[in-house]
């Protein structure tokens, strides 16, 4: 009769150590264990290694958690110093090329403007916090200008143009948002208008160099930039009216 796999494995399981063999090996093992005792405690370096590893992991997790939590903070919040003192400088340190540094500075300007808008939303009327915020916006804009000037000095005109486009998009977004606040939220009107004025000034400061391009700049680029600039200024003046 042909055995089934089931019967086959049942038969295979019947192979076992005899009681004598099992006892003999156990005795031998007990003797061996007595002559080779377990260490009383883990070596100090192993304990230290785990402690250091654990501490590093905890520090890393806490730092990452704080950095993530600080991301949405505004001046006056407890976590804001972590944002401006740790997270943002770290991000800046990771940007290695001049154009990456310039892009990062535009990102920071965007953050400052977003924070300023949040301050306007929360406090409505003009406040000391807003003045402080405007100073921060001005400082961020000055940093952007330094980076863009640096790009132009290095003859990296296409990178400079890309950064300026980015600046233009960023400022336009904030201008639109502030104009909406002026129209729709009477309580925020004064503060929003003041911030909008500041943004317009930053726009002039940062994008004025588009008109100062060298003569040998390609005509297409020049006319595009001019269109963007003039288009926006018309739009702005129309809205202000």
């Amino acid at each position: 009769m042909i055995p089934s796999p089931h019967n086959f494995f049942s038969a295979a399981r019947s192979v076992s150590l005899s009681t004598n063999d099992r006892e003999r090996i156990r005795r031998r093992l007990t003797e061996f264990m007595a002559s080779h005792p377990l260490p009383t405690s883990a070596p100090w370096w192993r304990t230290l290694r785990w402690a250091v590893g654990g501490a590093c992991a905890i520090i890393l997790m806490v730092t990452a958690g704080l950095a993530a939590a600080a991301n949405g903070s505004i001046p006056g919040d407890t976590l804001y110093p972590i944002k401006v003192g740790l997270t943002e400088p770290l991000r800046g340190a990771v940007a290695l090329t001049p154009s990456a540094k310039a892009e990062t500075s535009v990102e920071l300007l965007h953050h400052r403007l977003t924070e300023a808008e949040t301050v306007v939303e929360r406090q409505g009327a003009l406040s000391a916090a807003q003045e402080d915020m405007e100073e921060r916006v001005n400082a961020a804009a000055a940093a952007v200008k330094r980076q863009v000037d640096g790009l132009e000095r290095r003859q990296l005109s296409s990178a400079a143009k890309q950064v300026k486009d980015h600046i233009s998009d960023c400022l336009q977004k904030h201008q639109q948002s502030l104009k909406q606040k002026v129209k729709e939220h009477p309580t925020q009107r004064q503060a929003a208008e003041r911030l909008l004025k500041n943004v317009d000034e930053q726009e002039k400061l940062l994008l004025e160099r588009q008109d100062d391009r060298p003569k040998n700049e390609p005509a297409a680029v020049k006319s595009d930039s001019a269109q963007t600039s003039s288009g926006r200024s018309n739009d702005d003046s129309g809205n202000k009216d």
Binding site: P5, S18, I25, R26
Partner: protein
């Protein structure tokens, strides 16, 4: 792990480790020596201050390594050493393996399977390890183990019918 815990593991897994070795070498004495050496090595590892997270896969890995080493050296790994240390191997009268009437067939069929097939079949259906545990012992994925088991079963059925 304390000494008492280790001996409890011995009581629990000695049979399985012995059987695992037996179906690899088809020799009672060598299988018994491998089983003994497996537990001695495991204790030596612990006494060196190194931790063993899961004892069962660890024991199988040690047993596998011993068998592979022996097949490379073509000589007994530990028996001579144990004799020198004063261990008296049992004489032929002590051999009381309970071999079932079908055991001869099992041995014949197992010896015709290739090493990998016999190994996974024994671990899965005789030692009743899960594919995940087998995968951990063999250092492959659980999927690979499942495929090997499936193929080995097919081969086994053919051999049983031939």
């Amino acid at each position: 792990m304390t000494g008492r815990e280790f001996l409890r593991h011995y009581d629990k897994y000695a049979e399985a480790i012995y059987r695992h070795c037996y179906y690899r070498v088809f020799d009672h004495e060598r299988a018994r020596d491998f089983a003994q050496e497996t537990f001695l090595r495991a204790w030596q590892y612990l006494s060196a201050g190194r931790p063993i997270r899961q004892i069962r896969p660890f024991l199988y890995r040690v047993a596998n390594n011993l068998i592979i080493d022996e097949s490379r050296k073509k000589q007994t790994v530990s028996l001579d050493l144990l004799r020198e240390e004063g261990f008296d191997p049992p004489n032929a009268d002590d051999r009381q393996i309970q071999v079932h009437a079908d055991a001869a067939l099992v041995r014949r069929v197992m010896s015709r399977l290739n090493g990998d097939e016999a190994e996974v079949l024994i671990m899965r259906f005789v030692d009743q390890l899960k594919p995940k545990e087998i995968a951990e012992i063999l250092g492959v994925t659980a999927n690979v183990v499942s495929v090997r088991i499936h193929r080995a079963l097919e081969t086994l059925k053919k051999l049983l019918h031939s």
